[in-house]
């Protein structure tokens, strides 16, 4: 197992944009996923790691890749492509895991999310955020908190608390049992 990671901490990410530190606004970490750009609230991002093999968990939906050891804590790793039911992709050198803190009714949890690659930290004024479109996106619009136009194009801002809430991810659980219990 390769232990090499590219640990881009939030601090250094912010450091990249020190010149914008004075703006009042929100900051989003943007990343690529299947050709689209998405953003997450940078305050929720704990760290960014390179992809490393994780321990598989039995009978979980495909988008749950498994769990990893984050300095002693057991953190689940979700593949966002599979979560959005997009085409799966081979992991490359620039595939990263964004570790986010998710707030839920029961407290806060730490979850890792696999994306194609990270881009920049975006500074956004509240006024620049447009409401999400009703259709035409690959992603269920419930998880999109807004839309921003940046230099490279449109960035869809994700609501991680909803996206990664346990209830959402396993909403189908109550309807049917976990996949493939001993399919002989």
């Amino acid at each position: 197992m390769e232990a090499k990671t590219t640990d881009l901490t939030v601090q250094s990410a912010r450091g990249l944009l020190k010149r914008d530190a004075m703006t009042q606004g929100l900051q989003y970490l943007t990343f690529n996923l299947a050709g689209e750009q998405y953003g997450v609230d940078i305050l929720k991002v704990q760290e960014i790691r390179g992809w490393a093999p994780v321990t598989r968990m039995p009978n979980m939906p495909a988008f749950v890749r498994g769990v990893m050891n984050l300095r002693g804590a057991i953190v689940p790793v979700i593949d966002l492509r599979l979560r959005f039911e997009l085409e799966a992709m081979e992991y490359t050198k620039i595939t990263v895991v964004i570790v986010v803190t998710v707030r839920s009714a029961t407290g806060s949890r730490v979850v890792g999310v696999v994306v194609d690659g990270v881009s920049d930290v975006l500074n956004v004024e509240g006024a620049e955020i447009q409401p999400p479109p009703d259709f035409g996106t690959a992603v269920n619009t419930e998880f999109i908190s807004g839309l921003v136009t940046a230099e490279e194009g449109m960035v869809m801002l994700l609501d991680v608390d909803r996206l990664l809430s346990v209830e959402e991810m396993f909403a189908l659980e109550t309807a049917r049992p976990p996949e493939s219990v001993a399919a002989a």
Binding site: M1, N59, M68, N69, R109, V181
Partner: protein, 695 residues
Amino acid sequence: MAIDIGQFVQTFFEESFEGLDIMEAGLLALEPGTTADLEQINTIFRAAHSIKGGSGTFGFRDVTDFTHLMETLLDRMREGRMAVTHETVNTLLEARDCLQEMLVAARENVPVDAVRVQGLQERLSRLLEAEPANKDAADSEPVFATKLPPTQPVGWRIQFRPYPQLMHSGNDPVRMFRELADLGELTVRADTSRLPQLAELQPEDCYLSWELELRGVATYESVAEVFAWVEGDCDLSIEPLAEASAAPEPTAGKTADAAAESPAPGPAPDPGVGQEGQQGELLLERRKGEERRKGERRVGPPTAADSGSIRVGIDKVDTVVNLVGELVTTQSMLSALGEDFDMSRLDKLHEALDQLDRNTRDLQEQVMRIRMLPVNSVFSRFPRMVHDISGKLGKQVELRISGEQTELDKTVIEKIGDPLVHLIRNSLDHGLESIDERVQAGKPETGVIALNAYHKSGSIFIEVSDDGRGLNRDALLRKGLDVGLLRAGEDYSDEQIYDLIFHPGLSTAKQISDVSGRGVGMDVVRRNIQDVGGSIQIVSRPGRGTQITICLPLTLAILDGQLVTVGQDCYIIPLLSIIESVQIQAGSVHRVAGRGEVLRFRGRHLPILRLYELFGAAEAQTDLEKGLLVVVEADGRQVGLFVDDLQGQQQVSIKSLEKNFRRVPGVAGATILGDGRVGLILDISGLIRINQAVI
């Protein structure tokens, strides 16, 4: 300089809540109708007295006033002037509950339910008034009993016999007598009979005893207070002085000394004495041992509300401190070795590493024990509950508790409280029959509920059993068929039918809203227990009773595990669950209808669980004869887990998956393996359940 007593308020509350527990236990132990055990009432009285005193110090006036009423009532009871009846005991119990509320309100600084307080005050007052021999209405100043109501005593006779070490703690009898002299007219007679020869005299010991007479209008309380500091270090008796009367009975107990016995001549006759109250005695023997015992309280239960703190016995802390010391020694040894290391010192390195292993293990074990509390902290609330509910239901119930000192991890204790309450309520409500029914069935009138806790093979077992009517197999079967959980025409074992009571649709809790309250059904009970890694089983015999056994892990945090590989994945099986590992011989596997694959093993049929199938593992060994079968046991059932291979054994610390993720069926938790990977720990009972569901 004013001392800020605010810092001590917390302690006052903690101690008061403990005092309330003592009062409750004491009150429950009082048997109405019989002559009460003096010492018992004394205990309750003292607890109330402390609360009263403390609340006065900290300015909780309403608590003081309220407790005073209770105290007066208790005092009359211990003098024998008030009978111990159901009514008095129940009123006191309710008053105690109210007092608890008042203390909580005081602590949280919220208003208290004044209506309730008022109501209880009235009831207490009425009881005090109803005293036939006493014309006093309950008043607010402490009128401690005289034997000759309604007058004040003319004085007190005090027999004071200090133990030799009284003066060691700085107490001085002379000073105490001076205080007494302030209260009235004091005459003192010293008994010097125990003085030894000068050469043998220990100057710091007290050999004297005294008989004092205090005449005046001093109250009993003020006299007793003078001696408050030396309660545990003397024999003390304070009796009211009467006018002409027979000699008081000799003081019982330790004072066998003749000199202490002379009765006082009666003073001028008291006007207005019409009643003929007995000339009984007020003998207060402060027993040394009792006070000592209270002061030395070791591992006690946590305070009423879950305060997030724990009381730990000093011995446990000492052990940990010692072990850390040893650990430090080992560490410096390793340090020294590391400085100038070469291969010739390899042996020493191994030795030191072994020692480190031992130290760490010991330390870990001891630290875990700190979180262990006796299960009594959960059991202690049940006597009261049984008392109240059996009263309400009109049944006679005896609660037998054993093994209450068995220790459990604090988190586990917190989680099983509610399930146990539910189980006992069920027994009270549904299990035990009414008195008439029991008599008809030839059973003793008093039903028995037994609570037992014990350790066995690395787990804790808690049994709740009753000698009631047992589970109604037929009724359950019918309900199961009605609801569709059972199929008609099939033959079900008793176990399977009793298991039905754990299904949500069949919970009977809904029927009785008051007694079985909170909407906690048996399904929630079982889930709560499974959540802490435990299991629950029922055994029942119609007409004879029911026994529910809960099995809980001793600790939630550490596990000895066996690593196994299934395909690419590595799993950990708790060592305690493993019976043995075998290789499957050709031809010994059969397929049984309704049970899947089984291995003929030692005359039994062992179901086989192909883990690679269950877990969807890739590239795993599928040929039964080429892998290994690990025979495991849980919930009294055995199963064989088919794996590729065994790896090593390791002690692992259990990390919950639910912290960042959720519960995964079949997985009890996760851990970090030696190489940094995450290993999944298997939940054996869970696996067995999954397997059964699939078949």
